[in-house]
């Protein structure tokens, strides 16, 4: 019990640290992709930049518009941040380790319906954006919030359907169960390439990242749902987006790339604790790759128009997800000998 509590605390701190350094990473990646250098003044190579940015956010005036709904205005960023942080609990960051005589499962909680829990948290996260945009009492913020809501609802469908096919092959909704299935039967990316592609595209939309960053769309909507937010409330929104990006990357790595599994490591006969820690490292390496991929895509591809976004979601992704379910069903039926 105590071990789990400590693990959750560590997970909390690690998540926040990674989210903070994602802001630094984003700026560095953006700079490198554009032949620039990026932040390099705060500390060596600018690694203290997140601290400077955080300090700046706290120093700014915390302004609440006179016509805003005060309670909801506070609630918006809080919900966005809380739900973003809650999702990481069900992700298996590693196998089981035995340290100082205690056996610890490197997963905060392992409910039978792990994936559904992730979806639930992401869905509640929309409320953070919607409440913030609505409470601002500002046209741009409201438009951003409406866009966020419709985009999330549309893409959650395609995302859920792409997961259905995955669940059909693995036969479980539990996150650790899916990883164990992959350890036994090979990574899901091999079994579900189309599903992976759909899930990845939807993950971009669910985290409001470019090319689907409609809700904040600075060229059209000033700042979208966070137009009226300042100081650390704005910081929370931006931070929640980075936490979401981290969690989405972890979910993609868990569902399709074997989570903490390193192919062929079981055959080497190494110490199980060492293997477990290498597994954690592998999990983070996979996660970081997808974080990098998120950034890479953001700085390569222009933003969709909103009608194109909806067309893609409803007329391309959802039919393809259904097709994927049919194909998976057919393949399973064929494999199990009709």
């Amino acid at each position: 019990m105590l071990a789990t509590a400590i693990f959750l605390l560590v997970l909390f701190v690690v998540t926040l640290t990674i989210a903070a350094y994602e802001t630094y990473g984003e700026r560095k990646v953006a700079a490198f992709l554009q032949d620039r250098i990026g932040p390099n003044r705060a500390g060596p190579f600018g690694i203290l930049q997140p601290l400077a940015d955080g300090g700046k956010m706290f120093m700014k005036e915390d302004f609440v518009p006179a016509t805003a709904n005060k309670k909801l205005f506070f609630l918006g960023p809080a919900i966005a941040m809380t739900t973003a942080l809650l999702t990481g609990v069900v992700i298996p960051w590693g196998g089981t380790v035995t340290l100082f005589g205690t056996t610890l499962n490197l997963q905060g909680a392992d409910p039978e319906i792990g994936i559904l829990y992730v979806f639930a948290m992401v869905s509640i996260g929309v409320y953070g954006i919607m409440l913030g945009g609505w409470a601002s009492n500002n046209k741009f913020a409201l438009l951003g919030a409406i866009r966020a809501a419709s985009q999330m609802v549309s893409y959650e469908l395609a995302m859920g359907l792409s997961i259905v096919a995955l669940v059909m092959t693995t036969g479980t909704l539990s996150m650790s169960g899916i990883v164990e299935h992959q350890i036994a039967h090979g990574w899901n990316i091999l079994a579900q390439p189309l599903g992976f592609l759909l899930f990845l595209i939807c993950a971009f939309a669910e985290t409001n990242r470019a090319p689907f960053d409609m809700p904040e769309c600075e060229t059209e909507l000033v700042g979208g749902y966070h137009t009226e937010f300042s100081s650390m409330k704005l910081g929370f929104y931006l931070f929640a987006e980075y936490v979401n990006m981290f969690i989405s990357s972890a979910v993609v790595a868990t569902l399709y790339f074997g989570g903490y599994h390193i192919p062929g490591i079981a055959g080497l006969g190494w110490d199980p604790t060492l293997v477990a820690f290498l597994g954690v490292a592998a999990m983070f390496a996979k996660t970081f790759f997808f974080i990098f991929f998120f950034m890479w895509v953001r700085w390569s591809i222009p933003r969709f128009r909103f009608d194109q976004l909806m067309n893609l979601g409803w007329k391309a992704l959802i039919p393809m997800a259904i097709l994927n379910i049919l194909l998976t069903g057919g393949w399973l039926a064929f494999k199990n000998g009709m």
């Binding site: 990646v29 490198f32 992709l33 032949d35 250098i37 890479w296 895509v297 700085w299 390569s300 591809i301």
Partner: protein
Amino acid sequence: MANVMQPLTSRSKVVSDKKMTLMERIYLPAIIGGLFITIKHFFRFKRPTIQYPEVQRARSDIYRGQHVLKRDDQGRERCTACGLCAVACPAEAIIMVSAERKKGEEHLYREEKYASVYEINMLRCIFCGDCEDACPKEAIFLTDRIVQSDYLRTPFIFGKDELVEPMEKSQRIDVSKRQTPAVIKFKEQRQYAHNR
């Protein structure tokens, strides 16, 4: 005849709104192509950035930067507050107040009249160098020093304390690059209005 327009560059492309092919409509090949283009830049380690305060781009010898008010070889200010620079200044950035030299100040000012106040507003100045051309006493020059940035406007009004070069011979500002023999010779030609 009307349709045979010469393209202006070799890189111009004819735009058409023809129906997209299936490959184009799938959109993914184009995305992957774009990703490859950006990642190529990611691994291109030659970046054109110059880390400004530490590294500075080479400037021309006759760069027109922050002004200097010269002293002569005996350390006396050359400026006589004639006001020609202020008249010549297209941005009206120069202001001066003249004063009469007192007894005992001969080692400070070369002639009987001098500028007790001489201010250049560096935010107005366009660094054209007309003041330098107008000066009959070889007193004002533009140098290759850059005017430093600041948070407020007031510090950009440079007074005599910032403009006049130090008395010590070793700390004098070198303007020989701008005051070449050709320039000196040109200034002697009195038929030009600004040399009179």
